[in-house]
Amino acid sequence: MQCTFIIYRFDPAVDTTSRYQEYTVAAEPTDKILDCLNKIRWEQDPTLAYRYSCAHGICGSDALVINSRVELACQKLVRDFKTANNFVIEPLPFFKVIKDLVVDLKPFFDRHRSVRPYLINDQAPPERERLQDSETQQFFEPALRCILCASCTASCPISRTNPDYVGPAALLRAFRYIFDSRDAATDDRLEEIDSENGIWGCKTMWWCTDVCPKGIPITKCLAQIKRVLKKKEKADS
């Protein structure tokens, strides 16, 4: 069947502003949106730029705005949309466009870095594994599904109004280490994000949870951090 794709285009070498270009693609209902983009690039317009790699929702390269919603192009099929085979494809919002559907994710990863996204534990490890019970791990398990696709941070209304807000993805990573029993920097971590640009920037708008292609209950995870901080505040006073 014929599908119409209206795609955001911007080439910094020739364009002063963005434009939209229309393509017609013969697609099956089971084709991924990424397959359709590939067909356009391979058969009609090799200049179209977008990122992709694993093509099954694990590498996190191809988060795009598809019909006004942030989605992974490789995780959505043509049949998933009730828009009469018409598609509008745009780059992730919030980030600067490099070319067409490719955005500059450097600010995203800089923020990620700011939460010290690694296990901190200065004690010499035991000869074998550190013990950890499954329940502890189950608690932060949702955060392990994160593929750093930036869908949540790009969609977050706070991210868009406060450029210094660290954003849901980075806070989710902080959550992962705060609740990992093997990490020894819990108090420092909590202190580092106890601010309006940190965890209190989150106003529980649920957009992150809504768009997460891995189904992570991000807002709930962030609420757990807030709970711990509230409890601490109470205990301190």
Partner: protein, 574 residues
């Protein structure tokens, strides 16, 4: 632009980043990757990483070694396999200490599960040896190593595509790379270069591999004079989602999943009575296609069913959630309620750049070292996987030999001076790019790529014949000719995927040729290489590694012996 580092690593998957961590302690290291580090294909590994921790059942490294040797159909080098099996438990503990969130036993130890070809007591029964983090083991290890690199301040050059190696008087002195965002050329001078660039599944039509798996590192090393070893051994994973090739992890069978034909029969009982659905991948891939040939594919088509419906919600949701997501999204099937349609999919290259257990690239059968060049991970052939890799051994391979290569490079950079600048390499690369961009050729790259993938799938996949391989080789060489005459349609400098496609296609065609040559040369059947015209293994003639070297403008085949220490070749039955 010019850069100088003690060591340059090509590829930011598990092997590359593990090596970077090892080198970064004492030397300057840069990691170049054509995709952003956390997009690397190591992240797609699902099921687990093998190590005889004996957390769940009695186990030891010797059994692991034996299984790997037998799984390799006796083609793996046993000294290297011993090194890997012995180092496996330490590797797992190290990962755990870095923060990898492995699933746990009720006692809080690392949980383990069964996997294909892994047994206790030298083949007596399946054993739980695979350490795992649900069914996203590769992804969480990739994230953890990347974060460890961030902590250590390792320098990454993301979305940099390497164009060529700088080789001066037989020594590798760096690389020339193309920055995708700007189209700028960068020359990296270094004392050592590590290839850790992964596999090349995209040569075949149906594959579990990412679009980035185009074998660039193997092809670059090959063009620079390094031999490629055992390239004819290409693993087809038995359970890719029908038509799409997306991987359904062996963990599904490790947790009790069963393969069934159109009659609902558990056909693996007939082929491997002892370990059934946990037989190694080469055998199961062939068995599935045998069933299809006998008319027992589902609905007469070329696939079978992977049945997980009896496993229950708890197991599927806690240990196989990701793959059930794939089944739902891509096959429209909920694994809790219905079987998943599966067929073999190109998954892994057992072969690669010939190297030793410290990652040093080896030039010939006397062990002459290619100075300054190292390899680790899927692009390398140590060789620990021989003719067929066992599940769970690839992640292990990347980490054990990534670390060892890193250690060797750390030693090496202390005694070597940084090479002098040699701008002619960048000039050569620049003229190659401009020739490509301005080519008035008449060919388009997409049909060439499609034809390569089709002929490799039809003639060089699970079942092979001399006639089919000969035809494939001829066709590939014709495609190589046509590839020299392609015309690009994007001549811009920013994010020019069209150019990247052309460079990748050249690499894939080189490797396709080497794979077909090796397969034609090896007139026997061993592991993943099955010749219908030579259906038996022939140890007298072919218990040896195949090597292909690019000399004098043409590929040449030679052989080298297999290292056998503890386990003499025996008939391989499960």
């Amino acid at each position: 632009m010019e850069h100088r580092y003690d060591a340059v690593i090509i590829g930011a998957g598990l092997a590359g980043m593990r090596a970077a961590i090892e080198i970064g302690r004492e030397a300057d290291v840069a990691v170049l990757s054509k995709v952003f580090a956390t997009r690397s294909h190591s992240g797609a590994a699902q099921g687990g990483i093998g190590a005889a921790l004996a957390n769940e059942e009695d186990d030891n490294w010797e059994w692991h070694m034996f299984d790997t040797v037998k799984g390799s159909d006796y083609l793996g080098d046993q000294d290297a396999i011993e090194t890997m099996a012995k180092d496996a438990p330490r590797t797992i503990y190290e990962l755990e200490h870095m923060g990898v969130p492995f699933n746990r036993t009720p006692e809080g130890r690392i949980a383990q599960r069964a996997f294909g070809g892994h047994t206790s007591n030298f083949g007596k029964a399946p054993v739980k040896r695979a350490c795992f983090a649900a069914d996203r083991t590769g992804r969480v290890i990739l994230d953890t190593l990347w974060e460890q690199c961030l902590q250590r301040g390792i320098k990454f050059f993301d979305e940099f595509h390497v164009l060529s190696l700088i080789v001066d008087k037989g020594r590798c002195c760096g690389v020339v790379a193309y920055e995708l965002e700007t189209g700028a050329l960068h020359t990296f001078y270094s004392k050592a270069v590590l290839m850790a660039s992964g596999g090349a599944g995209k040569i075949f039509k149906t594959t579990s591999n990412a679009f980035a798996s185009t074998g660039d590192g193997m092809a670059l090393a090959y063009r620079a004079g390094a031999p490629l070893e055992d390239m004819e051994f290409v693993q087809f994973h038995p359970t890719g989602i029908y038509k799409l090739g997306i991987l359904i992890s062996e963990a599904a069978r490790g947790e009790g999943g069963i393969l069934r034909n159109s009659k609902g029969e558990r056909f693996m009982e007939r082929y491997a009575p002892v370990i059934k659905d946990l037989a190694p991948r080469d055998m199961i891939a062939r068995c599935i296609l045998e069933e299809v040939r006998a008319g027992r594919g589902i609905g007469g088509k070329d696939y079978v069913h992977l049945d997980l419906t009896h496993l229950g919600e708890a197991v599927i949701n806690s240990k196989l959630a990701e793959i059930n997501g794939f089944a739902r999204t891509y096959a429209g099937v909920d694994a809790l309620k219905a079987p998943i349609p599966v067929q073999p999919t190109c998954h892994y290259m057992m072969g690669g750049i010939a190297c030793d257990a410290d990652g040093r690239v080896i030039l010939d059968d006397h062990g002459t070292v290619f100075e300054g060049l190292f390899a680790a991970g899927e692009c390398a052939c140590v060789s620990v996987h021989g003719a067929n890799r066992l599940g769970c051994n690839s992640l292990l391979d990347t980490l054990v030999f990534g670390r060892r290569s890193g250690r060797q490079i750390r030693r090496c950079v202390q005694t070597v001076e940084l090479p002098p600048a040699s701008p002619e390499y960048a000039a050569k690369a620049a003229s190659r790019i401009s020739d490509l961009m301005n080519s008035k050729g008449t060919e388009s790259l997409v049909p060439i790529m499609g034809q390569m993938q089709a002929i490799m799938m039809d003639n060089v996949s699970v079942f092979r014949t001399g006639a089919g391989l000969g035809e494939a080789l001829e066709k590939i060489r014709e495609l190589q000719q046509r590839c020299r005459n392609i015309r690009l349609h994007d001549r811009g400098r920013c994010f020019n995927r069209n150019l990247l496609d052309a460079l990748e296609l050249e690499h894939m065609l080189d490797l396709a040729e080497v794979i077909a040559m090796g397969a034609l040369h090896r007139e026997e059947s061993r592991g993943a290489h099955f010749r219908e015209d030579f259906p038996a293994r022939n140890d007298e003639r072919f218990l040896s590694h195949t090597l292909v070297r690019f000399t004098g403008g043409t590929p040449q085949i030679f052989e080298k012996p297999v290292t056998i220490t503890r386990f003499q070749p025996k008939e391989r039955k499960y």
